[in-house]
Amino acid sequence: MNRTPFIVRFLQATPKSGWISLAVFALLTLVIIPVLHLAVAEGSAFHVSSYVVTLVGKILCYAIVAVAMDLIWGYAGILSLGHGLFFALGGYAFGMYLMRQIGRDGSYKADLPDFMVFLDWKELPWYWTGSDSFIWAAVLVLVVPALVAFAFGFFAFRSRIKGVYFSIITQAMTFAAMLLFFRNETGFGGNNGFTDFKRILGHSITSPEMRVTLFGLSALMLMATLVLGRYIVTSKFGRVLAAIRDAESRVMFLGYNPLYYKLAIWTLSALLCGIAGALYVPQVGIINPGEMSTANSIEIAIWVAVGGRATLIGPVIGAAIVNLSKSFFTQAFPEYWLFFLGALFVVVTLWLPNGVVGLWQQMRQQMQQKRRAKA
């Protein structure tokens, strides 16, 4: 039998045009921006400022979350309004390591993180064991969000909770987690969260080299997420997901158990969010329970809706559009940002059911029809 090796099939799932776009993206994010930031003098017109690198780096992390969200919402029809939780859990898991890397350079010059000294704690809680190890932090980033998602998803999907009920429970889940993390006794810095980071692996976190490294890692992670996503949605697994979205009972009567399909994509989605959160926290320098607020999770859904559901590039575009306008609005007209966000959501829901990508496809079709009419 002539079987194509799995790795070849995996890479072939992304079409040639996709690989070309990824190559251009890689050139931009891994070569051009780093060089313009590091090597070009600050006064030069070609210098990319640290503000821009951090802003774009943040958006790259958001884009990973948006693609992860689209995998379950766009492709499997499960709307989560609690994805901010998985993002925040990944951020907190890596944040613990960053807090330990501060060492004795905190305000209290103590071995314990400042907030613990402030609470008069004498030793680390048991769940901080090993948090000074980078490897352990990386393991937590991968395992904690995935495990929480798996446990939550198992019970929710097994009980066949669907549609808006599922969405509401995910909202409650992230809200409950936020309240828990707000408490000082939980041991994650209460409402201040973690901040004042100094180092990663002994290197200064504010150095331009570190900034470019984190930026590049975020870009690489986004590309990996897109390639993985493309394979999944074009595989038979992806077609079963689409089938579950369209007619779940038919899927069951064909002999598929939707539970494991939903659980797998749900857990993967949370895992990707966790990684994005871990890349995000060192770039912005802070993580607090506000990341688990319900509004944050709803915003993730808006990125996907704006960009275009059930496409992989759509969420990336949506995350970029919404967050670029956010950073513009919150500086120029800080009071009006939420109104703008609401208006954007209304406009997309009413006139752009398939988002910006859908609009683009529609325009291209109309152009082709006009051309055909002329010929």
Binding site: F6, S235, F237, R239, S249, R250
Partner: protein, 261 residues
């Protein structure tokens, strides 16, 4: 193989008594309404059985109980001699070899006709297998075969949601064929079909009987006549009469039920 000491093959339907489906005193009630009331029915292996009955007689509920969608309150439901349907989930029952066509055609509207059939194909349907699955030539040939059988070979790449109502019915029947079940439950399979399509569907079902067992719920008497199998009349959740179409049509109780008393 004698009846007293034959081998039990796991995952195989035991047809040693030549019966594929036993329903024994099955009752189901919804908020006090008895949808099925001590329903007892057996289907022989290879049989083509038609089920008729007025609205609310329990035909669809009966199919729901057999396929695991609705849990029976009491009674026995066995697939072959050994498989207890009351203890199984929908996917497990489908896997054991019972396929179902819904009253309203239920297909995957956003997938192509080809993909609809591919998903239905009899194979390992666990999530982790699907992630690495690869359609081989044998599988492709099987899909093409069924496409010809249901006369949709010209529509293979078309989005299934764009098919006509009759074509959707055929696609769903095609999905059943791909699934290759031992027992097919067909709920009003020719509703919305043209006379020509109905006649062809009848031919197809007759050719399937023997190798498969079929249970067809229908209102179309001409179609039932064409199928020519045994007819069971359901009324108020239990069997009212059973026999050839001519016998049940002349049965006094059946006439009363249909014409009102």
């Amino acid at each position: 193989m004698s009846d007293s000491g034959h081998m039990l093959i796991p995952d195989e339907v035991d047809l040693s008594h030549n019966v594929i489906l036993y329903l024994d005193q099955i009752s189901v009630s919804f908020d006090g309404f008895k949808a099925l009331n001590d329903l007892t029915l057996t289907i022989d292996a290879g049989e083509l059985r038609c089920i008729i009955g007025p609205n609310g007689a329990g035909k669809t509920t009966m199919m729901d109980v057999i396929t695991g969608k609705t849990r029976a309150d009491k009674g026995k439901a066995f697939f072959g001699q050994t498989i207890n349907l009351r203890e199984m989930t929908e996917p497990e029952i489908a896997h054991a070899g019972i396929g179902r066509k819904f009253q309203k055609p239920t297909i995957f509207e956003n997938l192509t006709v080809f993909e609809n059939l591919e998903l239905a194909m009899k194979m390992d349907k666990r999530a982790r297998t699907s992630l690495f699955a690869w359609l081989d030539d044998a599988g492709r040939d099987k899909v093409l075969d069924v496409l010809r059988q249901i006369r949709l070979d010209g529509e293979s790449e078309r989005q299934a949601g764009l098919l006509s109502h009759g074509q959707k019915q055929w696609l769903e029947i095609g999905m059943l064929l791909m699934q290759d079940p031992k027992l097919l439950l067909l709920d009003e399979p020719v509703a919305g079909m043209t006379d020509d399509e109905t006649a062809r569907t009848g031919e197809l079902f007759k050719s399937l009987a023997g190798k498969h067992s079929l249970v067809v719920v229908e209102h179309d008497m001409a179609f039932i006549e064409q199928l020519g199998g045994k007819v069971t009349v359901l009324h108020e959740g239990s069997v009212l009469a059973e026999g050839s179409l001519a016998t049940v049509q002349n049965d006094q109780r059946v006439i009363e039920v249909y014409l009102g008393r």
